[in-house]
Structure formats: structure tokens, C-alpha cells
Symmetry: C2
Amino acid sequence: MTSIKDVANLAGVAVGTVSRVINNSGAVKPKTRQKVEEAIQELNYFPNEVARNFKMQKSKMVALLLPSIWNPFFSELAYYIEDELDREGYKLMLCNSGGKPEKELYYLDMLRQNKVAGIVGITYNDIENNVSNDIPIVSIDRHFNKKITCVTSDNYEGGRLALRELVKAGARKPAFMGSVTSVFSETMNRREGFIHEAQVLGVDYVIYEKPDPIVDNQAFISEFLQKHGDADGIFAITDMFAASYIDQASKQGIRVPEDVKVIGYDGIQDSPYFHPILSTIRQPVEEMARTTIRLLYDKIEGIPLEKQVYRIPVVFRQGETT
Amino acid sequence: MTSIKDVANLAGVAVGTVSRVINNSGAVKPKTRQKVEEAIQELNYFPNEVARNFKMQKSKMVALLLPSIWNPFFSELAYYIEDELDREGYKLMLCNSGGKPEKELYYLDMLRQNKVAGIVGITYNDIENNVSNDIPIVSIDRHFNKKITCVTSDNYEGGRLALRELVKAGARKPAFMGSVTSVFSETMNRREGFIHEAQVLGVDYVIYEKPDPIVDNQAFISEFLQKHGDADGIFAITDMFAASYIDQASKQGIRVPEDVKVIGYDGIQDSPYFHPILSTIRQPVEEMARTTIRLLYDKIEGIPLEKQVYRIPVVFRQGETT
């Protein structure tokens, strides 16, 4: 097997020089660097990353901690996160927590042992006391207290936009429908923006919500239909809620969009073949992913960040339900 | 920081004993093991995995190389693969190849450098010469020549089942519609099973296919509708093809299932809220994932496997299109 010594011999330089080239540390003359790189190529030398990590005490590995890769929003996010990491030679370790706090803690412990370079965390539980200060972390959709950087879609603007679009489509009594997490979550801003805009426009509105997680979706929507039969517009906190509402309402003879206009949030539905195609507030998934990784790089390099929360603009996407 | 020496001192044993407990290598008396484990707990000692990997020259990391985690079939697969790996303390590294051969080669090189414990590969390109013999690998859906173990759904039985279900639903001239990869792929057995069963039952049938990838889906289906307007049953090679066919056929006034019965393959559609709900051959994703990882463990341990191809039974799932 080729060793670093063979490379140094062929290039006519010291082993330390080859090491500096491989690790991109310390000054090396361009001409020397070229000679080393040529020798590496000619000998087909693979620096042993495990050994290198041992010396440098860090790995080029970033962990993505999320509830479930099976969810289409998270899998799209993971796709772009991996793509952005790969541009700088980082690899992605995937950790599904199932949304369970004990599994999240277990993974955070494991990640500490493994000395990952950084963590991207999507968690809806209150685990902030267990987030170690010594690992760079950027969270998505979720504030932590310990000055943890957070990247989200602009939920507040999304809520305002949804209200405006419902009114534009003819709704006179729009309703917000969603679940509320026990700790503050960025998604709550969807409701705040909705309320703000209704007040600005002087529109009568309904807020209907239950604690997260909502176990019985069907009962939740049934109750809404009983209590708020006069609502003629729905802004659902997620696309899945919107689709579930439409399904149940249609069984009661309510037509969408003729009787009730419906807007979801997420924009994960990307097949034009399955109906209804939801009108929705589209999360800028790709930009959220790339921004998250660029901020994580800054943290890894020790560069101070300007803000704690980065909000990426959203757009309304017209479907068949408004 | 706590070191392995501190643990050895507190437990009253030699450093080598602590090492054997941590690495689960060599004989340690149960009582001694307990003392060491208690000391580890008391000191909150995290064995440094990077250092351990360096000594053992391997990591507890398995790489998953797939076209795109964004695809719902692959994200479901990845979910169960990670879950199964986690049971034995392995971690999952995610690599999206975009289905491009050059990206697949790039990742295989990278994985060699990183000394992962094993690879799960989902690839549809002919990269078998670049698959190294020294890393345990199990592929999904794809044969390699070099005796690489492959786990697939039972595509042949799936094809037979689809033909039978179409006939049962009333189709008298069923058609197979799909794409053909340049190298042999397990998915081709879907067509073989379909043909076999049509011949057994003495049913007139149509085979309609083009080389993979089909760039213009719409033109592909248009041509089919022109050439084979008499087909009254469709077995599409994937659910996406089935959905695309239904969309285009309905624009020409063809009703599904009244005029044409349609069956897809995959069973990735798991929301009951979007229509049509496809009748489909469901891939046993969870069992494929868990089987793959268990076979990979055997390979890592050097246990010889009985077969080269493991085929997991499929089932028909009734939807709204037959």
C-alpha cells in the first residue's frame, strides 16, 4: 500500500510538506503543491481519513438529526443539505429521532462521542439543556435559548400571505386551523401573521387549535366543522392538515373551492397527477438547506454570525383549492 | 478530560481490560466487566470513537449510496435502514448520486478513503468494475457480476400478480408499459412475470417500452395511446408511470377504471387524501431494508451467505384504479 513517504519521495519533498498539502494547513508554494498533487495522483494515494481525523481530532462529518427522513419535507431538505455539504467535501450522517425526546438525547450523546464537525437539528422537543456548547449546531424551524442559530421559512409573512389569498379568492370568514407545541416553535408565527393581516384588513376570522400532537385528526376536524360551519376559508398549518380537511369536508358535501377555499403550508406536493393539487404557502426548502449549511460552516470556522434567526421568504403557489 | 487510565484506576483493573470491555473483544469476567462499566458511568467517560477507529482501522459507519433521498421510495427505505443500523450501534452516511455514474464513482472512491464498515448501494449504472472487493456491500434492486449480494422485491411474482389482477378486474387486452435499462436490472423481471402469466392464462397482451431514462413522458404515453388504443388494462413499471398515464388518458376522455384498469408498482403512495389512489404492487420496503442490513452484518463479520439474490414477497394493494 502506498504511504505518505512514497508520495514525499516521488515529489522530492519532506513528509511534513505532503501533510500540509493534504490537510490544507500551513504555507506551501504553489509549485511544490502541484508536485505533491501530481505525486498523489500518480501513486493513487488515498490519505487515510480515519488516521487524519485522529490527529486533527475532528471529522468532516455533519449530523442531521430529524424526526423522520420518510416525511417528504424532511427528505427534500436532506437532499439539498447533502448536496451543499458535498461541495466542501463534508459527509452527512443521518439520524431519525422519531420526534421522541429520549431518542434525540441518545443521538446527541452519540454525536458528542463521535466528534462530528457540526449538527443540523430539526427537533420539536425541549432538549436545549442537553445541547452541548462545544459542537457547532444550526437548527431548522426551532428556537433554542442558548443562542443557537435557527433557519426557518418566513412563517409570519406566510400567515399574512395566506390570509390575503383567502380573501382575494372570496373568503369572508377565514379560519386558521392547527396544532400548538408546548415550547415556542417558529410555526406558531403562521397563526400570528394570519391574525395580524385579518386585523389590518378588518376581516372577521376564526382561530381553531389543539395541543400538538393531534392524535385523532378526524375528531379534530369533525369538531371544527360542527363549531365553525360558517367559515368559508381555511388556512391549515400544514398541507397534510389541509388535505385531511378537504377529504372530510367533501364527505359532508362541502365543495372545495366552491364552498370553502383552502390553503396549506409546506408545498411538498410536487406531482401534478394526484388531486386536489393544494393551494399552499411554499417553503423555500432548497434555500433553507443551503443557508443552514453555510451558517454551519461559519460556526465551524469560528466566524461570528450576525443574527440568531434567519427567515427565508416564502411564496404562494396556486393550486386547485382556492 | 477523563481518560481510559482514570477508568482503569477506579475499576482497579489494567487499561487493556477496560479496552477489551469497550471494544467487546477478548474474554472479560462478568464481574470485572461490571466494575469497568460502573467506573465508565461514574466518570462519565466517553471512549473517543475517532481514536478507537484509528486503532481498529474501521468505523461503525455504513454508507447508503442512492440516486436521491428526495424520492419517496428511497426515503422510506433509508428510514428503515437507519433504524435497523441503529439497533447495532451503526450510523448511516447518506450519499445522493443523482443517478449519475461519475457521481457514483466519486462516492465509491470517497467511501474507500473513509473506511466505512460497509455500503448499501442502489445504483442503475454499470459501475461494477469500480466496486472494490474489500468493502462489504449489499445492493438493492440491482445485480452486479462480482458476486455482490442483492436484495429486491420479487419482481417476477409482482408481474404475474399484476397480470392476474388486471384480468380479474375485467381486462381482456392488458399492456405492460415501462422503460428498459442498458444493463440487466431486476425491474425487468416485472415484464417477464407479466408475459409468463399472460401466456399461462392464454391472454392477448401488449409490451410497450423504451430505453431508460424516458425524457419525454408525455410523448411516450401519447404514442402508446395512438398505437395501442385497444389495450384495456395497464401494468405500469412504476406508480409514477401509472399516475402519468391516468392523467393523460383522462384528458382524452378515457375513464379509469371504467374503460381501462391500471396497476402500478412500488406502493409509495401512503396518503389517503390524494386521488386517484393507485392499485399497485406494493414493495415490501421495510423487510427489504432490514434484510439488507442483516446480510451486510454477516458480510462484515465474514459469514458466508447462502444466496446471491434475496427476493422478498410482494402483495397487491387495491386502490381506485382497478
